[in-house]
Symmetry: C2
DNA sequence: GTGAAAGCGCTAACAC
DNA sequence: GTGTTAGCGCTTTCAC
């Protein structure tokens, strides 16, 4: 037997299809008793509204797109980052019966711009969640912007007045981590910078300097190395940092992957963590708990950020309220095994 | 200006909308010159067919659902597994302008069954890719089956005559790994079994026994420990295995996470890998390359498997050809740093 | 090889 | 509070 339509329900409940529609969409202006009758009919026929018909009639796709840099194209994937964002968006979608459209892409491709435009024009999502580091790339932001589809940037680093973004308080949190390290007695705290395109990660460097200042330590360029967010670059920076005569007693890396690289190098060099060297990362990716010693890090509330982003988009798609400004989420300092008191 | 519809194109090209439809869908019976005219009009108006209208008229959702166990609900996520499957399905979808609907779920929930049924009845995907270990759970398989929506099981472990599945040759590959270990001179090769619900992982245990036999080694229950696929269980098994008087010189774990647990324990005990102990895993998750020493493992062609699964579903949705049998993919033996010659 | 007409199952606008 | 009607933009069927 064919699937029930809104007409079948209307007939059985002895109301018009519009009333059924009202009940299904939780619209007001339905008498409680009528509503009950309709609901009984729906139950009886196990009626489910047809999404395609709904989308066509309402001129909305009920689709939220999540666009991110393709982790499977990396040497070292940061899959956990993506999974957590997906989970967040999914939470927001479920509550609004939207679907999630995922689109991993490679920002190094010459024509990501037109690829994204085609995607958007074809699928017509009601809104777009744009993850870092794509959220910081003018080429990409402007391609998306040109489609006029509402979008939210995640971890955008630089706010601008024209759109809405959600991010973590990178600077404040990094300052907190630095102060924590200083409170452990470390006087020589090195920092490994991240990918220059990733602005949010750039703010962590600023926070590191703030934290140093707060703790009465002075900043020195010689304690700073520049990585590119990959484990391998973390290894390279650590190799340089740890080969010095007066090597630092603590290293704070702008993300966990690089911190993991530091741990790996220290292990090879026979430098004991945390006895001789404290290491801290940022992000709390899965790897952070998986390595030994487990990494002290800052947990980014990625899921919550993505959820908020999607919620804002969904709300905008119904209310058309302007989508501007920025929301900030606080990171949590997770103290694990890789940090300890400075060697005497 | 509003978006162009099929009528606008038809008018501009001076044909009927049906002809435009034919061109757009690559249907036959259009004269080359007509086709060209239509294409020019499409280009000029930058026309994009409306997916919602298409779905409604064709009674297909053009959606492929990917259902998997939620990695973000784990203590230790296996996010890479999911990302690779997503990438595979996405490849198949792109070629057929389908969209991917992802649905992470928690198989421990009492009512996953009805959750999945609701999802399927609401979103009405044209087909479903069901990932392991869900693909082995009768409760879940039958819930999906009851919706009559075509589905493919990935790494199903046990074939049955009623559906289609794609999997890796777990048994043969594990035998190969075991023979490789034996060829290195190891005489005492231990095995850590995986989660009992995960049938594919069970086949690896069979392969281990085959490999032992092939190499003239005899199987001993005392060299087998049972884990549950988690890092922590790998640590527990390793702790037991390595505390013995005559500890094994090689440990083969049914997945990488457990192998990583072994590495961690060996590290704590001061047992050098690979000099004193060889460790091998299975799956080639990201973690396998991230730990030190990098893990020798079997790379599961997950992306290809998922892609094939989705392709089969898409083909079925157009041709209605029966979806039965099983396709098998070969794993690749990846020799990295964690295995070496048996200690003299 | 091409076209006309009839839906697909819903929402929106407005009438009652 | 409730119903009527007209689309939404395509695909399908069938006629030519």
């Amino acid at each position: 037997m064919a699937r029930a339509t809104i007409f079948d329900v209307a007939k059985l409940a002895e109301v018009s299809i519009k009333t059924v529609s009202r009940v299904v969409n939780n619209e007001p202006n339905v008498r409680a008793s009528t509503k009950e009758r309709v609901e009984k009919a729906i139950e009886e026929l196990s009626y489910r509204p047809d999404q395609a018909a709904r989308n066509l009639a309402s001129q909305r796709s009920h689709l939220i797109a999540l666009i991110y840099d393709d982790p499977s194209s990396y040497e070292i994937p940061s899959a956990g980052y993506v999974i957590r964002m997906q989970a967040g968006v999914l939470r927001a979608c479920r509550d609004a019966n939207c679907e999630l459209l995922i689109h991993p892409c490679n920002y190094q491709d010459k024509d990501v711009g037109s690829e994204l435009k085609t995607l958007i024009e074809t699928a017509r999502p009601d809104g777009i969640v744009l993850a870092a580091p794509l959220s910081n790339m003018p080429r990409i932001v402007s391609a998306i912007s040109s489609t006029k589809t509402p979008f939210v940037r995640v971890s955008a680093g630089n706010k601008n007045g024209k759109d809405y973004s959600v991010s973590m308080n990178d600077r404040e949190s990094s300052a907190e981590m630095t102060r924590y390290l200083a409170s452990l007695g470390h006087k020589s705290i090195a920092f490994i910078k991240g990918h220059p395109k990733h602005k949010a990660v750039g703010n962590r460097f600023l926070g590191y300097q703030d934290g140093l200042r707060d703790s009465g330590l002075k900043f020195s360029e010689s304690l700073v190395e520049a990585g590119d967010n990959s484990i391998r670059s973390g290894e390279a920076c650590a190799t340089s940092l740890l080969a010095r005569e007066n090597r630092p007693t603590a290293i704070f890396a702008a993300n966990d992957d690089m911190a993991a690289g530091v741990v790996r190098v220290a292990d090879r060099l026979g430098i004991s963590i945390p006895d001789e060297l404290s290491v801290a990362g940022c992000d709390d990716v899965a790897l952070a708990q998986q390595i030994y010693p487990a990494l002290t890090t800052l947990r980014q509330p990625l899921g919550a950020m993505a959820e908020r982003a999607a919620q804002a988009l969904i709300e905008h798609s119904t209310t058309k309220k302007a989508l501007r400004g920025a929301d900030t989420f606080s990171a949590t300092l997770l103290i694990r095994e890789s940090t300890g008191p400075a060697p005497k």
